[in-house]
């Protein structure tokens, strides 16, 4: 009995230690350091950035799995596209249009920001303001941990150096075009809306459809600003992905398996669909009956007059005869 008690104690200790190990790992802290410099390598102070936590990382056998946090679950892009250059632009519009919590940080005199004690995941970093004479950098995403491109090692403290360009104030013009591609075996929506972003702000929108050959080009754009195109209304049942070639943004909508829909995806039929009647009295394949009952009025009136007249004739004309 005594021998068994020791064995049980030993198993309990091993179990406890294993859980402690997991707990220690779950609390693995990480951090981001930003060094903001201009194209000449000069530090830029007083640049303000917003940091959003967009996804959470969990270790697996081969590395880390990332899953969107609840606030970002409906953004319409695949979590596996974290390295997609266009993902931060898409997420930035998504985040700023919603009430999502963020941390605001400002560069010090050396152009540095150090953020520590972050939990593992993907962080969206959006420039809010830069000193006069500079153009803000594009939003970007930092994953914690981040795998080194050369050694494949996971880094828990990541250094990023977003570059701000000096505002040249030159009246140079540029353009940006958008092209739509559908990846589905079924019929896809007849049209889809894309928006033009100027330094991250929506300034125009265009509906792409077969009529414009699913293509549009914005011309005469000020080259001193950053121009992007994204799809804000990702059709239900699709994910969006972007391919950029020169100044053309290819917006791809890929049909997803309904079972793969992210959690909290609104699935009620009223979303952008036919609204349900309170009492389902009309077959769904019929348009609503919206007319008053009028046709019987002249029919009843004329018939009534005719019948009345014939009765009257029968009663009085016959009498006179």
């Amino acid at each position: 009995m005594y021998r068994y008690r020791n064995l049980i104690l030993m198993i309990a200790c091993i179990t406890l230690l294993s859980f402690m190990g997991i707990a220690v790992f779950a609390q693995q802290s990480a951090g981001i350091e930003l060094n903001v410099v201009d194209s000449e390598g000069v530090a830029v102070s007083n640049a303000v950035f917003r940091i959003y936590k967009a996804a959470t990382a969990v270790q697996n056998q081969n590395g880390y799995d990332f899953t969107w946090d609840t606030d970002f679950a409906l953004n319409g892009m695949n979590i596996n596209n974290l390295s997609d250059a266009y993902l931060p632009v898409h997420l930035a519009v998504y985040a700023q249009s919603r009430d999502i919590g963020y941390t605001e940080v400002t560069t010090d005199a050396d152009g540095n920001i150090v953020i520590e004690d972050l939990s593992l995941g993907a962080y969206l970093i959006i420039p809010v303001s830069v000193p006069d004479g500079y153009i803000p950098p594009s939003p970007f995403v930092v994953t914690l941990p981040m795998r080194g491109a050369s050694d494949g090692e996971w880094s828990f403290y990541v250094n990023a150096s977003p570059k701000v360009e000096a505002d040249r104030q030159e009246p140079e013009k540029t353009y940006i075009s958008v092209k739509k591609e559908w990846y589905t075996f079924n019929t896809h929506p007849n049209n889809v809306k894309t928006v033009l972003l100027k330094d991250g702000e929506i300034v125009d929108s265009i509906v792409l459809s077969a009529e414009n050959n699913w293509y549009f080009k914005w011309e005469d754009l000020d080259k001193n600003h950053c121009w992007n195109v994204i799809e804000t209304d990702v059709p239900k049942g699709y994910e969006v992905a972007y391919d950029i070639s020169e100044m053309t943004v290819m917006v791809k909508n890929i049909e997803i398996n309904p079972d793969d829909n992210p959690p909290n995806n609104p699935s009620d039929d009223s979303t952008n669909g036919t609204t349900k009647p309170d009492k389902d009295t009309t077959p769904p394949d019929q348009l609503i009956q919206t007319g008053q009952l009028r046709w019987p009025i002249p029919f009843l009136a004329i018939t009534g007059l005719l019948i009345f007249s014939s009765g009257w004739a029968m009663l009085y004309i016959g009498k006179e005869g």
Binding site: L74, N75, G76, V93, Y94, S97, R98, N190, N191, K193, I202, V207, S209, E211, T232, D233, V234, P266, S270, T271, N272, G273, T274, T275, P277, D278, K279, T281, P284, D285, Q286, L287, I288, Q289, T290, G291, Q292, L293, R294, W295, P296, I297, P298, L300, A301, T303, G304, L305, L306, I307, F308, S309, S310, G311, W312, A313, M314, L315, Y316, G318
Partner: protein, 195 residues
Amino acid sequence: MKKKLGIALMAVGVICIAAAVALLLYNYTENKNAGKSSAIIMDSLRMEISKNEVENTASDPFDTEMEIAEIDGNGYIGYISIPILDLDLPVMAEWSYDKLKAAPCRYYGSAKTDNLVIAAHDYSNHFGYIGNLKPDDTLMFTDINGKVYSYKVTSVDLVMPSDTDKVKDTGDDLILYTCNYGGTKRICVRCSYLK
């Protein structure tokens, strides 16, 4: 015998005429009540919209569903203005036959995704005269946040009640529809968005 038959025919004739008059009065009352309830809702809706404008409620560009304001237990997505018919009518978020007696209702889609379809009864102060609209006539839809979507009429046509595919996702940015006189077809006013 002939006298009795004459009296009976006269009685039936009177009943038919009375039924016609009763139906006429019922339609008239329903028509009048519809106009009255729409006008009352419009006042509340305008107040709600001006409140949202003051609060500068930001519209979510990722949300294709329209914001809804609750007034007297019914949800509204905004109001439709047809200046040429001198109409300003609230639009309910969902439809039912009871709701249609008070105001036009959204049948399908969203102004945000340029496929909004609004149905209403053919009351004289609802959609009774939309068949008189002509191409290039303008109309506006104002959402709950005060955002105004301007449209111009591109065509007016008749569709069968079973032609749901001729109103849903047709490429028209806005469609208004109501019944024709006999209720056998639907008058569709198709509009395109004016930037």
